[in-house]
């Protein structure tokens, strides 16, 4: 394993290198935006290759950090950056890479403004979120948690079409607040040496420090998940983002909240917080139901996609809050497919939405003009609702079983919200595929052959994940 010594550092640095090349490319050249996207895609593919290489040496059954790398930052106080990976973070990193690659493929042919900035900030975000998933100590965890805020903010502001200053301010402040809360918690937990984030729960603190630290940790991660009262920023932003890559990036942010809560293991949270966890569960379920019901009355596919994402993020959050850690890997496997499916749906929705606007037609039956898009879209919708087409099927079933075992009433509400979301998506699919009246003769472009080929590969990967989610490991 000698040649894998700095592989995790390399995985973080490759997107940064890509960003550097994108920034250095000449402005104003007619192929600038294609160059930017091609560099970005190449960086992502290189990183996927590195990830596959790393995965060959990962022990699926081990719960410890693997391929550990340690960098000394300060001697007094002693602070080290520790990077490590396990199967859970590997899955998430891979899915985020594929999601962003999907986004780049989806917008490559478009005439988006400021595409160099888009590509550069996306690469910066990818680097930071990769670092977040491989951070093994408290310090580096916080650094990446905070550092991904800047590229996200820039992407949302440039491509969010957010007209109201207050919406943007709220978006920034909510996320900054979460960063500062986590910083406060780390200041309390930090005891003159680096702390492995898997050992946080073993620290002995006095009563007030414990409440302060754990309360701040929970609030910091919850600020990124769209549950009340933190939902406002993401729903405001999502209603305005039209660029699929920016949409994908913005909607990967809640994943960081769920991941953070899983890593800090709410299983070991102090007893004094347990009543608040119950309140959180109730609020989460109410949020799920509310958003699913609103989506039921809103025919816009983008809003229904957003509601689907929200409901499932909360579903995974509730799974993570169960008093067992046996389903954490199931959550990871399900999340990885979920991210890929949602990204694909967003790219396809962007395609036919742009076609609709170009030809000034309704979305009803638009998929009937575009067989390739229709095929892929149908597959993704069916996979999204839990059909046996991806690892979502079995793993969601396992998570739901765990929820039923823990609290059947709560599980019933969750199941209802999930079913409602699934119905919403199926209804949208039906509406998009089958026109209610005779369609006008318009030349609506299908997705390109290259995009279709890429989508087929993704579909194949999803099918393989259904058969064996960890086929690439070992």
């Amino acid at each position: 394993m000698g040649n894998l010594q700095y592989i995790l550092t390399a995985i973080i640095l490759v997107p940064l290198l890509g960003m550097f090349f994108i920034v250095m490319s000449k402005q104003g050249h007619k192929n600038t935006h294609h160059n930017a996207f091609d560099v970005a895609a190449f960086s992502i593919i290189s990183n996927i290759f590195l990830l596959w290489r790393a995965s060959c040496f990962i022990d699926i059954n081990s719960t410890q950090w693997q391929l550990k790398e340690t960098y000394s930052w300060l001697l007094s106080p002693k602070i080290e950056f520790v990077l490590g990976i396990d199967i859970f973070s590997l899955l998430l990193i891979l899915s985020v890479h594929i999601a962003l690659l999907m986004g780049f493929v989806g917008i490559r042919g478009s005439n988006a403004q400021r595409q160099k900035s888009l590509a550069a900030f996306s690469m910066l975000f990818l680097s930071m979120i990769t670092g977040y998933f491989v951070a093994a100590d408290l310090f580096s965890f916080y650094i990446f948690f905070a550092a991904m805020l800047l590229p996200l903010f820039m992407l949302v502001r440039i491509y969010g079409a957010v007209k109201k200053q207050q919406v943007l301010q709220r978006f920034f402040l909510y996320n900054l607040w979460g960063v500062l809360l986590l910083f406060m918690a780390i200041s309390v937990l930090y005891n003159q040496e680096s702390i492995d984030i898997k050992s946080i729960s073993k620290l002995k603190l006095d009563y007030y420090s414990e409440i302060f630290a754990w309360g701040a940790i929970f609030l910091a991660f919850l600020s990124r998940i769209p549950i009340w009262p933190f939902h406002y920023w993401i729903s405001s932003i999502n209603s305005n983002i039209s660029n699929p890559l920016a949409f994908i990036v913005a909607n990967i942010m809640p994943l960081t909240g769920v991941y953070g809560l899983i890593r800090f293991s709410p299983l070991d949270a102090p007893d004094v917080l347990k009543p608040y966890v119950f309140v959180l569960e109730v609020v989460s379920i109410i949020s799920m139901l509310t958003i699913a019901l609103i989506a039921f009355s809103n025919k816009d596919i983008k809003y229904r996609l957003f509601s689907y994402m929200t409901v499932f993020y909360i579903f995974y959050l509730l799974g993570a809050l169960l008093p067992t850690d046996k389903i954490l890997l199931n959550i990871g496997l399900s999340l990885s497919s979920y991210i890929v499916i949602v990204s694909s749906l967003e790219v396809l929705a962007y395609h036919f939405e742009s076609q609709r606007m170009n030809h000034n037609v309704s979305t009803g039956g638009i998929l009937s003009y575009t067989p390739k898009t229709s095929f892929v879209f149908s597959f993704m919708i069916l996979a999204a609702i839990g059909c046996p087409l991806s690892s979502l099927f079995l793993n969601n079933f396992t998570i739901l079983a765990g929820l039923i075992k823990f609290n059947i009433k709560m599980a019933a509400f969750i199941l209802f919200a999930i079913l409602l979301c699934s119905l919403n998506l199926l209804q949208s699919l039906f509406y998009l595929k089958y026109p209610s009246k005779k369609l006008p003769l318009v030349d609506i472009a299908d997705i390109s052959k290259a995009t279709f080929a890429f989508m087929l590969i993704i579909m194949l990967l999803l099918l393989m994940s259904f058969v064996n989610p960890l086929w690439f490991v070992g």
Partner: protein, 465 residues
């Protein structure tokens, strides 16, 4: 007699002033480059002598230990850097560089006296000179501000009274004798009065609320070289002096005074955070931000310990380095030769001058304390200390205020990046780009490897305690 060689650096500075005055006599319109050259030479030579004459002292008056040398060198380096950046202002504006550079040399002279003073009379004299020269510097190119002048005179008189009171009542002025005096006469009202007078003067000098009002308005109205200099450089003289006094001769008084200091700190934090959101002027926004940072440092110094000193100094470093970058960026914000100061004037800067806009973004991120920039290092040390002493209410106050302050920064970033307008900007000089690049390099490299700076500071501060 040989001991007076310790004053050689200060002598060189005064020689530079004298040379400029004599040159002015013979030639009224001195070229900016010549004036800058004399200033630069004086500063460099003086800095060299400070290092060479390390550990030379005049007993009871003047000290030149590692602590004093460190901060004198920082003052000199910042002055050299700022004078270099300001030269372009005088080329373009065709203003007399003579007054600015002469007053800068005089200000550095007074700051140098303050840092090295081991005597209350010398300290009060140096502080008074610093106030007067600072006022004269800010007074350039605008109508005289009577309130500010009256405030300066008030503090000068207060300082004079304090040192006279000590000398008249006790006959001693040097720090070591004063320390013994305070230990023996802890309840003496004259000593307490003198101590309060000096502390209030230092708080005014640092710019803590509620003594900040004249300072903020003056920063906005003065020309850029003066405003930037007064906002950045003197802090590295006033703050170490404050630490020397409260950990040395007046340590006994600081036990009860610290609560007042914390009160000033809290007010500064709140004024700074809300004030930054109340104005459209760039300089005022960052001047108010400075209030916040100074307030946080003052709260941190509630109790003087190695940990609190270390974290406050690191925080001060991170603040000044980032703010230096901000003010350097201001030199690049010009339209038809006029410096831009309002938020509406800098709209669409990112599309016209992307490097300048990115620099401002980096410096603001560093000021907020987000990783992976150097500002995070300072913030980490500070809040780690606050967590160590379990001052959770302070932590919450600091964080909430930072959140409010960030709204002010967000206004700046929104104007630069996201608000479209047809603003045009003059081309930015290469010197400015070089200064910005160097600053960014320092911020990034200190963030990656802060160990050397911190171990050096630990060694220096060990001497203070």
């Amino acid at each position: 007699m040989l001991a007076y060689i310790a004053l050689l650096p200060e002598f060189v500075l005064m020689s530079g002033v004298l040379l400029l005055l004599v040159s002015r006599l013979f030639k009224p319109n001195l070229a900016p480059k010549f004036v800058y050259g004399v200033c630069k030479l004086s500063l460099i030579l003086s800095a060299f002598l400070v290092v060479v004459l390390y550990n030379r002292s005049i007993d009871g008056y003047f000290i030149s230990n590692s602590y004093a040398v460190l901060f004198k060198i920082i003052v000199y380096l910042l002055s050299i850097g700022w004078s270099y950046l300001s030269l372009k202002h005088f080329y373009v504006k065709e203003k007399a560089a003579f007054r600015f550079y002469t007053l800068m040399l005089l200000e550095v002279f007074s700051l140098s006296l303050i840092i090295s003073s081991n005597n209350i009379a010398l300290l009060t004299f140096g502080l008074s000179l610093s106030f007067v020269f600072g006022y004269l510097m800010l007074w350039l190119d605008r109508r005289m501000n009577y309130i500010y002048l009256a405030t300066i005179l008030f503090f000068v008189l207060l300082l004079a009274c304090s040192s006279y009171t000590i000398y008249h009542c006790f006959g001693v002025l040097d720090y070591s004798s004063l320390k013994d005096l305070v230990e023996l006469n802890g309840n003496n009202p004259y000593l307490a009065f003198s101590f309060m007078a000096i502390m209030l003067s230092l708080f005014f000098a640092i710019g803590l609320a509620p003594l900040h009002l004249c300072f903020i308005d003056s920063i906005e109205e003065a020309d850029l070289p003066s405003a930037g200099y007064i906002n950045l450089v003197p802090l590295f003289a006033y703050f170490p002096v404050f630490v020397t006094l409260v950990s040395g001769p007046f340590a006994g008084f600081y036990v009860w005074f610290s609560a007042l200091g914390v009160g000033f700190g809290v007010i500064s934090v709140l004024f700074g955070a809300f004030g930054a959101n109340s104005t459209e002027s760039l300089r005022k926004i960052f001047a108010y931000a400075g209030l916040y940072y100074m307030g946080i440092i003052m709260i941190c110094l509630n109790n003087i310990s190695a940990s609190s000193l270390l974290c406050s100094f690191i925080y001060l470093f991170t603040y000044v380095i980032s703010m230096f970058g901000i003010y350097a960026s201001f030199y690049g914000l010009k339209h038809k030769g006029e410096y831009l100061d309002s938020l509406s004037q800098i709209k669409s800067l990112a599309s016209e001058r992307p490097f300048l806009a990115s620099s401002i973004l980096i410096f603001i991120i560093s000021l907020i304390g987000l990783p992976p920039l150097f500002g995070f290092v300072g913030q980490f040390f500070l809040f780690d200390h606050i967590a160590d002493i379990e001052a959770y209410k302070t932590m919450v106050l600091a964080m909430l205020s930072l959140l409010i302050l960030s709204c002010g920064y967000l206004k700046v970033l929104s104007s630069i990046y996201f608000e479209g307008a047809n603003n045009k900007f003059d081309s930015v000089d290469r010197v400015i780009y070089f200064a910005l690049s160097l600053n960014i390099f320092i911020i990034l490299s200190l963030a990656i490897s802060p160990q050397y700076l911190i171990s050096y500071l630990i060694k220096i501060l060990a001497g203070v305690l």
